[in-house]
Symmetry: C2
Subunit: 158 residues, 2 copies
DNA sequence: AATCAGTAGTTGACATAACAGAGAGTGTTA
DNA sequence: TAACACTCTCTGTTATGTCAACTACTGATT
């Protein structure tokens, strides 16, 4: 292995932590995705969008805002919303005063499906991810990695 | 640690840890991938494969073994290896004694490109991921999440 | 030696993502 | 009010991954 990494810190430590994070994510998602599809009938990408809309005000979000809060590109979102819309879970509405814009809004059906899916998914994460760590470990991980989503929230507000 | 989720556990704790892991991964990958492409000329999926072959013995790995050690399906791997092969970084060779099989082997060029890419990528992770955690936090995360890749290694050997 | 279940890897059809650029609308400036 | 730069969203093309079906081979059984 390379020797010229930061000498003040045990070599491999960062890499071990990174590797852990990477594997925890992929392994968990790899089983959570099929589980969600089986129970809710749609994939995690849909749940991401639905959850964003759920957290937003009743008049939904513009495509642009969805883009900022998700990990998708704009063109990816157009098509993703297309699919969710043709399943009847969201609706595109005109924006008063800006004819370029679109608001994406949860339908009642979408809200129901979100609630069920969200509950199931959380239970799944509790079981499959949470089971493998002690309470102290969960706390340590949560605290150590909190910095990564604080960034996001700052960006979404700014 | 097997089946029963500890009911005495604070409600949002698992979720906060999971959220941290998720965001740390996506945020870091989101910047590491373009960086690798700019410097090495290929994406992270290639580096995964090259690194597996690098760690293996000189006669490489069979598709099957690559599959177990990566997060790809077999057909996905077929195509990934196709691409890497046509870039000249790996070579498919016949397996003595089993005419169904294929060994995937690093070419000298592949080894060189791996070394450079691996060093760059590690430095990048050191900086962008490692920078945001204290040494104690790195240690805690590494230890807490080690279970997720030990599974993999066990599976690869068993 | 004929059969047949199982294994190794590839291929075809399809789903979903990204990038670049198009089309429509807005608002400011001259 | 014509021109222009900018914004918002969608579309065309291409890349990459999955699932299911397929070919080729192996090894055990009869």
């Amino acid at each position: 292995m390379t020797k010229d990494v930061d000498a003040s810190r045990p070599a491999g430590l960062v890499y071990d932590a990174w590797r852990g994070v990477l594997f925890a994510t992929s392994r968990t998602l790899q089983i959570a995705e099929p589980d969600l599809i089986a129970k809710a009938g749609f994939p995690l990408t849909w749940l991401d969008v639905l959850a964003q809309l759920y957290d937003a005000a009743d008049d939904g979000l513009r495509m642009q805002e969805l883009e900022q809060r998700s990990l998708f590109t704009r063109s990816g979102l157009t098509r993703l919303v297309d699919r969710i819309e043709s399943a009847g879970l969201v609706r595109r509405e005109a924006v008063a005063g800006d004819r370029r814009g679109v608001r994406v809004v949860l339908t009642p059906e979408g809200r129901r499906r979100h609630d069920a899916a969200f509950a199931d998914h959380n239970k799944f994460i509790e079981r499959e991810f949470g089971r493998r760590l002690t309470e102290a470990q969960l706390q340590a991980v949560a605290e150590a990695l909190a910095t990564f989503w604080h960034d996001d929230e700052a960006a979404a507000k700014g």
